[in-house]
Subunit: 571 residues, 2 copies
């Protein structure tokens, strides 16, 4: 490098916005992977204000039974929407339906000014939008509660502040990656006579229109990383929500559009594309030439189609599909805490998290614990007991279990005996139907446990979404770990955990997790659960196994969303 080389990196310069320090703090946390949260997860009145809960509920109720008026977009003259809460009530919200041609044109037209605003300006506008969304956390929490079936506190937390923190994480990750490209540089190559001197300007350009396909169970949490990462890198976004979970994303789009407008940008940078059940709008949108990025959460069949056909069309496709999350139990010095932690992990939202454990491997000869040796059967009975204790009172149970989200889950929960006998195993702890004290139509289920041998791979290597868990008896922990590794390499997983008092076993478990390409939680006994990841510190997924090709939010999750165009000339 010569002394004459000069780099201008004005993308990194503060702009005087009140959000500058937020971005800088988020960048520092992301670099250090330390604890960071901008949006408090507690729904306490002391945090969000005495009237926030009531106002949020009222705002939610004010949306029901009428057309959703707040959206901007290129619409045809039809409406769609027939959301019914898993708790029973019909939402009755009618959403305007996009005119796809016009919507794509509007999105494309909106891009240049947003692109030219540059990475830092975009990041600050998006943080302003996240702050605005945070103020709506109770309203969005109710909308997530009544579309996903999550219990309310979880819906508030995961659908509100935790989703917002994941959005901020995506903004920070996208900014970090873009800010590494200088805006302009004087390049000077020494030679025999005068050096060759060129000015090179580097422009960050977006890929085009980004499609985000939302899911039913986590309409905001799984969508925000893609939405915010694509917007932060200068793309326009079209969001196709799940037909049974439109409202949380409609409110999100309305707020994003308002913030974009307030800052002088075209609100149609973000458009909502709700569909009628069975319309197949995601496929129609994915096949558009304008669409260059897809973020998808959903079933593996359509996900694989998007990956294959998207690649053929030059699209960058990020998917989260399905997997078999795993717990390996070797031994413990605190069996009570272990069972309590596991019972909560299995019960939370009736096992309908993409991160809920499904397969628990333990030696068929049992495990050593602080309460003596436990046989395989005793372990199953005790875990069933811990679940029963946690979910014994209907009124409290529904605040953990939520409601089953769809008929598939209900059918699976209702046929535990058949699943067990098909697998050559037996029901160790039956699922219990809970009556919701407020919503009698809600179908609420406690987790059921099925005991099988390690040979029953046909059953436990398929995702059994919902309250179904396999206890799998192995020849010993070595076989537990090798089956874990092989199964996850082939069938994928979002999470894994291990319980052992033996450092050598934990080392082997770490090696197996590395080989399997899944994150590992070790000896969770307290208030951290394997289902849960923290923005800025834990990656959600790894991208290293078939469950997902991406992680929230590593550099691979953002680096493919923009390109760099150089213009060079002699000076």
């Amino acid at each position: 490098m010569t002394a004459a080389d000069q780099t201008t990196a004005s993308a990194e310069t503060s702009t005087g916005s009140k959000f500058d320090s937020v971005l800088d703090d988020a960048l520092a946390a992301l670099a250090g992977r330390t604890y960071f949260s901008r949006y408090p997860e507690s729904p306490s009145p002391r945090v969000y204000g005495e009237t926030a809960a009531a106002q949020g509920l009222s705002a939610y109720e004010g949306r029901l039974g009428k057309p959703f008026e707040g959206l901007q977009g290129a619409f045809d003259d039809t409406t769609v929407g027939d959301e019914v809460s898993p708790y029973g009530p019909t939402l009755g919200v009618a959403y305007p339906h996009l005119d796809v041609d016009a919507a794509m044109a509007a999105a494309t037209d909106a891009i240049p000014a947003w692109r030219d605003a540059g990475p830092r300006r975009r990041a600050l506008v998006l943080i302003e939008a996240l702050d605005a969304l945070n103020k709506q956390s109770f309203e969005i929490g109710n909308a997530v509660h009544h579309t996903s079936g999550q219990p309310f506190v979880m819906a508030f937390q995961a659908g509100g502040p935790q989703a917002q923190d994941r959005g901020l994480e995506a903004v920070a990750a996208a900014y970090a990656e873009q800010s590494r490209v200088p805006e302009s540089v004087t390049w000077e190559k020494p030679g025999k006579g005068e050096p060759l001197r060129m000015q090179k300007d580097y422009r960050i350009v977006p890929r085009g229109v980004a499609l985000v396909v939302g899911c039913n169970t986590f309409p905001t949490w799984n969508a925000y990383p893609g939405i915010f990462a694509s917007l932060a890198t200068g793309n326009a976004v079209v969001i196709k929500p799940h037909p049974r979970a439109i409202l949380p994303l409609a409110i999100t789009v309305e707020t994003l559009q308002q913030t974009l407008s307030d800052n002088g940008f075209d609100p149609k940078l973000v458009q909502l594309a709700p569909e009628a059940d069975g319309e197949g709008l995601a496929k129609t949108l994915a096949e558009r030439d304008e669409v260059k990025i897809i973020d998808y959460t959903g079933g593996p069949t359509f996900g694989a189609w998007l990956e294959r056909e998207g690649a053929a069309r030059g699209q960058q496709v990020y998917t989260e599909k399905a997997g078999v999350n795993t717990v390996v139990v070797d031994s413990t010095d605190n069996v009570r805490a272990m069972l309590g932690n596991l019972a909560f992990s299995l019960s939370l939202y009736s096992g309908q998290m993409c991160t809920t454990p499904q397969n628990i491997y333990l030696p068929k000869d049992g495990i050593d614990t602080d309460e003596g040796h436990l046989s395989f059967e005793e372990f199953g009975a005790k875990l069933g007991g811990a679940i029963g204790k946690l979910t014994g009172e209907d009124e409290k149970a529904v605040e953990i279990l939520g409601a089953t989200v769809n008929d598939d889950v209900r059918a699976r929960a209702g046929s535990l005996d058949k699943i067990a006998s098909d697998a050559g195993g037996s029901v160790v702890a039956d699922t219990r139907q809970v009556t919701h004290p407020k919503y009698p139509d809600a179908v609420v289920r406690t987790p059921g446990l099925i005991g099988v041998g390690v040979e029953a791979q046909g059953a436990y290597t398929t995702e059994q979404f919902g309250p179904v868990t396999f206890l799998i008896g192995t020849d010993g922990t070595d076989q537990s770990l090798s089956t874990f590794r092989d199964t996850v390499r082939k069938h994928g997983a979002m999470t894994a955990s291990v319980y052992s008092t033996d450092e050598a076993v934990l080392d082997k478990a770490r090696d197996a997790a590395m080989d399997a390409g899944v994150a590992l939680s070790e000896n969770l006994l307290g208030q951290v659960f394997v289902n849960q990841t923290a923005a800025f510190s834990d990656y959600h997924g790894t991208g290293a196994n078939p469950a997902a090709n991406a992680a929230y939010a590593d550099s691979a999750f953002v680096a493919g969303r923009f390109r760099v165009i150089t213009a060079r000339r002699h000076v």
Copy 2:
């Protein structure tokens, strides 16, 4: 962030190797995109030593007419190889042929120790290998010369030091991305009582086996970025060279294996997979479960297959395929220098660079220059004259033109009249067959120019690889720019340039290049050519148009080659 948060980033710590400072300098250059080169491009004896050229030639000649003995790998008992120099001589080197099953097993077995060595150790070992390759630049230069047909000095530069600089750039880019992930952090979440405290360890894991598919024209330059980026991120690499350009990569693999061995790593981390012509080994290898990354340079049909099927298999696929490189001529204040620069760009290696301009747009009414107005026909005649002057003497011409690489190129060069008449145009400057003074069997061609109207899109939107250039008459510069933009968006391009004395036109050209997703060179008049890019500063391609889905070496080129696996536990 709390004060108790602690981050360990030992990946960034110096290790005391003599290559530490090389890596640090490369990282600084990459961050600043300033001029940087470790490997001198001049083949001068003052740089490489008085005896280097003769020793390199002798080493090259010592490879000919016998089995290539230096490779390690899992071989079957056959050999392949029937390379014939585009200059005439038969190379006669027989290469051992991989046993694919055993080679994949060997590659997989080699990964864990390489993975566990960590990003910095890998980077330093790879820099040692690049330094060793640099000492072989004359040997490799001769091998590239006699497989690609590049003129010798170009083969030395592009095949040797410039390829090595691109390799170093990939190592630096990969290290930069990996080093942003801390090794370990104490995460502390504040709560009502004691904070929740966890230790989180982050492990960089490779994707698996990386397949690199080489091309005929730039066997090392186009392969090194993928090879070094994949190795730097912990993967094993299997290299499938083009059947007519095996030797440069065989020497490369031999040296890489030696350096890996010297440092205590399994040499089978890099294996050469030469094939017989027509064997289809690239497809066989691409379909292996072990293969998780593919780097491909070659034709668009197989490239598109790799992208589609690779995505379906969860592979990360980086391709460089084909495009139509473009020059827009609006006006100039130095017509002589412009024509000289363009003539060289078209002549260098007979237009067989993926970066050679193919389409030159100018107003059919001509352009304003410092020598007065030039009509379309006068421009064509003058450009033909400049080419003729540059390539008029056979002996000097072959040092620019090299030799045609294959029968396709020869056929195209030999049918200029037909291409012109099919396009409804005419030959403006005919291609001239040059007799090589040393190699009478070499087919050497000067660039031919075909004049067409802008309506002849059927001809000029297809890549005419080799010495065929279209002069395309437009209604004016606005149409030139819009046709440029639309054509590149649809058909791709690796390079673009513009000549204009009008800042407003240059601004429009920058906008068009941004929309087209291609890098722009402006008013090149001297010793920088649109075909050439500089490592650490210019991106090779952008990934933003159909010519290539990747750029050497941006963050997207490296971020998909590794994943991060977390292990977390309470402390």
